[in-house]
């Protein structure tokens, strides 16, 4: 199942195959979640956006013309619904500022930083682009890169055992996966960008919300 293409998963799900749907969910929830987290929504709003996006995909499944473009469809739909809920401004007073789940998100925006706000925004957008790019990598790449970026990282021997690959192919596989990450469309707007804002536009929450 993990090796199946998005195309075959979508057509199986259209036919009612629930395990194909579960695999689509497993593969793309990190993307949806990561876009949601780039907006400053309350926990309830975040859950509602997630649920809305997946219900939309269910109703939209039979119309997915290019399943390879599914990631882009999901990211766009998620952004739009985040924007809608942020405009509704409901329940905003109920956000618990001490909620641990929000700390990670706010962490970087509150941290005192010598860089100007533009630079900090650009860096936040790049991190978001990396997460979206990562969410679109093949499952095998995601597994390997997750292990390599774990804190503390397991040894190469442990990684080799867990993934059932020879120690000698970890390095080359990592290089290949990172190359795919660099080529991912999510990173395209930032390629070669200096630490000043160029056309990163449209990607992050702050920018999208100002549209």
């Amino acid at each position: 199942m993990t090796g199946r293409s998005a195309t075959s998963l979508v057509s199986a799900a259209v036919g009612g195959d629930e395990s194909a749907w579960a695999e689509l969910v497993r593969r793309y929830t990190p993307l949806v979640y990561s876009v949601i987290r780039s907006y400053d929504l309350s926990g309830a709003d975040a859950s509602d956006v997630n649920q809305t996006v997946w219900l939309r995909l269910v109703e939209h499944l039979g119309r997915v013309r290019d399943p390879q473009a599914l990631a882009a469809w999901l990211a766009t739909t998620t952004r739009r619904e985040c924007y809608r809920l942020s405009r509704l401004g409901r329940r905003t007073q109920l956000v618990d500022p001490y909620d641990d789940a929000l700390d990670a998100y706010h962490g970087f925006s509150r941290a005192p930083d010598a860089a100007g706000p533009d630079e900090e925004l650009l860096r936040a957008e790049r991190r978001q682009a990396l997460r979206e790019g990562f969410a679109q990598l093949p499952p095998r790449c995601q597994e390997l890169l997750s292990l390599l970026t774990a804190d503390p990282p397991p040894s190469y021997r442990e990684i080799a055992e867990r993934l059932g690959m020879p120690v000698g192919s970890i390095g080359p596989t990592q290089a290949r996966c990172l190359r795919r990450l660099r080529e991912c469309p999510a990173l395209a707007p930032f390629l070669g960008a200096a630490a000043t804002r160029t056309n990163g536009g449209d990607r992050g929450g702050a920018v999208a919300a100002g549209r």
Binding site: T29, L55, L88, A104, A150, L181
Partner: protein, 155 residues
């Protein structure tokens, strides 16, 4: 100083990716559960037309020439071919109009099931209880057609 990005060095990029992933953390189980459960709403009946969201006063600019109705009301417009479904949502409830009018019934659904149902009068008006938070969709059954709106949070 111009630093190329993403970094060409694999170790630097791996470290930056790790920081980006840790910042957000793993997908909460609740998100996975809701996403899996959405599959139950797969419309087996293919004859139900999907009415897309064309306008939402909460986030779209008001079309020129349209007078805004009651102050706090949110208005949304859905469309499927010639069928148009317009609703006004307030804390008191939903009032809507279905075009072309033809009697029938409208039901309002959340991800957990139907929360209200009402008849459509001869000019297409209907009213429903206030929606709970979270995605909602309306389904209209008339003599001539069956449509379901796309899912959207109404409040």
């Amino acid at each position: 100083m111009v630093e190329p990005w993403p970094p060409a060095d694999d170790d630097v990029l791996t470290a930056e990716l790790g920081a980006a992933l840790r910042e957000v953390g793993p997908v909460p189980e609740e998100f996975l559960t809701a996403a899996r459960a959405a599959f139950a709403w797969r419309d087996v009946a293919a004859e139900v037309a999907l009415a897309e969201l064309m306008f939402d006063s909460a986030c779209d600019a008001e079309p020129a020439g349209l007078t805004r109705s009651a102050g706090s009301a949110r208005t949304l417009s859905f469309r499927s071919g010639a069928v148009v479904l317009e609703v006004e949502v307030t804390e008191a409830g939903i009032v809507g109009q279905l075009f072309p009018p033809g009697g029938g019934r409208v039901s309002a659904q959340t991800a957990t099931g139907t929360y209200d149902e009402a008849p459509v009068d001869e000019v297409g008006f209907f009213s429903l209880d206030a929606p709970p938070p979270g995605p909602v969709r309306l389904r209209a059954h008339t003599e001539g057609y069956v449509v379901a709106t796309t899912w959207v949070a109404l409040r």
